[in-house]
Amino acid sequence: MKKIPIFLLVLMSVFAVSLPIDAGQLNGRDIAIKMDAVDTSLDGKRTAIMVINRKGQKLVRKMERYNKKYGPDERSLIQFIEPPDVRGIMYLTWSYEDIERDDDMWVFLPAESLVRRISGGGKKGSFMRSDFANEDIEKREVEDDEYRLLRSEDFSGVDCYMVERVSKKQKDTNYSKRVVWVRKDIWLPMKVEYYNKRGKHFKTAIYGGFKEIKGIWTLTKIMTETPRIGSKTLMQYDNVGYNIGLSDALFEQSNLKR
């Protein structure tokens, strides 16, 4: 194998630093894979507090979320604590890496003690009347999107990759594309711009509260704002725990009860 002259390596290094996209070997998909690999936990729990400010009206939602990984697949359980009219409602989701396979989803309605299968048809709808759509809350698999690395850019003093994500299933999303600012140091998002089907930027999410918990970098705050309707939503995660040994039984239909 031919050796590369040292001066050439130095020249390459200089160009690599000054190119619009550094580390030119990475593409958008590579970055998505790195983002996907941040959470190395086997299971986890967290409390989510969501405060919605809509034209001066404040709405508060609280929920507990548990999740457990089964290889590339994942099961999650969300239990609502506030507001009073949804207290005790639970959502159980079995999501699959294979994008051709539909998620299995159930809702538990405590007033009727009824477990009911639901479909992902409401993904485009608002999550609990917030600025988040249901599709924003669920985990996106790497294979869900097509990627394009746009450039490197600072956001709030942090060096980020700007990656454009376009859903492969356009009929199931509100968005023509998402542009994501990804921290180069810990591979977590700092900002997402959402573009509607006419290609217009209409919603922005900003991420913060980055903490290392049990060796896993975790974001604990998301602020989403939709200027057109004068609304913004803050989601804050508390009591975050990883690798706590959650039982498989927690993610079965039999656990959907009061």
Partner: protein
């Protein structure tokens, strides 16, 4: 090259947090300091629900004012839940002098849950609805109908919790569930002249009052542990399908009327709740934006009244004949666009054919439906739902709206109408066409 990839992580500290400096004005100390899961939590609602007849505004169906309280106690493996309500309904004065209907206090649910990893047990008074369909569930046989307020919506009935013991066992991918009901609870008769008194019962009561017939007291299977009911369900998820086999062994919720003749020649009718068994199969499956649901049930040897106008009707018999009943439901619901929800379901009941013609229709069938959407940034849900018997047993339709104000208030106006032949299942309530308004404050 790895050197260049990781260079930025050295250059920029993690303390850079875009949300740290933002004036959020959203999360206040009181919100953050509240515990999310409490050992004891209390909640409930205050509600004013008023149903006014369209055809006779002076005789409202219900002016129910309700205080509902619920209490959740415990954490982890042992928990308790109880709910109770107090109703005041001045509309009851129009049809009864019974003050218990004017002021009504009821312990709704009260049960204890023991929750272990593979086995769960629940004891107490509880609601337990089984089925995958919407509103029509042939194997939903545990809870009796709410005789005071039987209509939950134009396509669903309202039920009452009962005392039961429930065991749930997780065996790999299979969930086995058993329910024991030590004292059977059946559908109570609506009170005389109440808005939801069925036409047939009203006629029988009139005939009994005039002395034409004798209506004997009901014979209910109400002995503790002597007439227990029990039910089993075995369910699993297989390739995205929810599959369940169900079995029920108990008493019919509605009575059959045994006939005999008194020495003075008058006919006596005795309402009896008969023992029977039911076998069922349920399934449900999600497909992208849609869910299909289906239920099948077989109820062998149920008793039905013989048509007294038919020549084969014999006066020396009890007027009843045993037949098998087959029931089926198949439906689909789908979300279009963002929130446009469409639900359509077909159902059929077929009574086994036989020599004697029955008083009841041998085949009944129909559809249930709902179309709804969300408006005003999801504060308002509005739509149209109902049930239509294609076998000429009537129609119930409802235009409904639910408007949320903040997290605590909800206003729900609507219009519900009943149509069909006077003696049909839904047409008999034609006089109850109503506009309603529900105002609820949840806490």
């Amino acid at each position: 090259m790895l050197f260049f990839i990781f260079l930025p992580s050295i250059s920029y500290p993690l303390e850079k947090d875009p949300l740290e400096e933002m004036d959020l004005d959203l999360l206040t100390e009181d919100i953050l300091s509240e515990d999310t899961v409490k050992f004891l939590s209390l909640g409930g609602y205050l509600e004013s629900r008023n149903q006014v007849r369209v055809k006779d505004v002076d005789e409202p169906i219900s002016l129910r004012q309700r205080l509902w309280l619920d209490c959740y106690l415990g954490q982890d493996w042992i928990r308790g839940f109880a709910s109770a309500y107090f109703d005041y309904d001045p509309a009851a004065r129009d049809w009864t002098d019974d003050t218990n209907e004017l002021y009504y206090l009821e312990l709704n649910e009260a049960y204890l849950t023991i929750d272990t990893e593979r086995m769960d047990f629940i004891f107490g008074k509880k609601m337990m609805r089984w089925g995958t369909g919407d509103g029509i569930n042939p194997m939903d046989l545990i809870n009796p109908r709410d005789y005071r307020d039987p209509i939950a919506s134009a396509r669903a009935d309202a039920r009452l919790p009962i005392l039961l013991a429930n065991g749930i066992f997780l065996l790999g991918p299979v969930i086995m569930e058993g329910v024991l009901i030590p004292k059977p609870e059946v559908n109570k008769f609506s009170l005389p002249n109440s808005p939801w008194e069925p036409e047939g019962l009203r006629e029988l009561r009139k005939m009994a009052e005039s002395g034409e017939i004798v209506l004997a007291p009901k014979e209910e299977p109400d002995d503790w542990f002597k007439n227990p009911e029990f039910a089993f369900r075995v369910s699993t998820v297989w390739k995205g399908f929810d599959l369940a086999l169900l079995y029920y062994n108990g008493y019919t919720d509605d009575p059959v009327f045994y006939r005999n003749y008194l020495p003075d020649g008058r006919m006596q009718l005795t309402p009896k709740y008969t023992h029977y068994q039911a076998y069922g199969f349920n399934f449900a499956k999600g497909f992208e934006r849609a869910t299909i649901r289906g239920e099948l049930a077989v109820k062998p040897g149920l008793l039905f009244s013989i048509d007294s106008n038919d020549p084969s009707y014999k006066e020396d018999s009890d007027g009843l004949v045993s037949r098998d009943l087959y029931q089926g439901v198949i439906g689909i619901d789908r979300t279009f666009f963002t929130n446009l929800y469409v639900n359509l379901q077909f159902f059929t009941n077929v009574i086994e054919d036989g020599q004697e013609p029955l008083a009841a229709r041998r085949k009944t069938h129909g559809i249930t439906f709902e179309i709804s959407d969300k408006f005003l940034d999801d504060d308002l849900t509005a739509g149209f739902r109902g049930m239509y018997f294609t076998s000429n047993d009537g129609t119930a339709c409802e235009i409904f709206a639910e408007y949320k104000i903040g997290d605590n208030w909800e206003i729900a106006p609507g219009y519900m109408l009943f149509n069909g032949p006077e003696d049909s299942r839904l047409g008999q309530f034609d006089n109850n066409d109503m506009v309603y308004l529900r105002l609820r404050y949840s806490f």
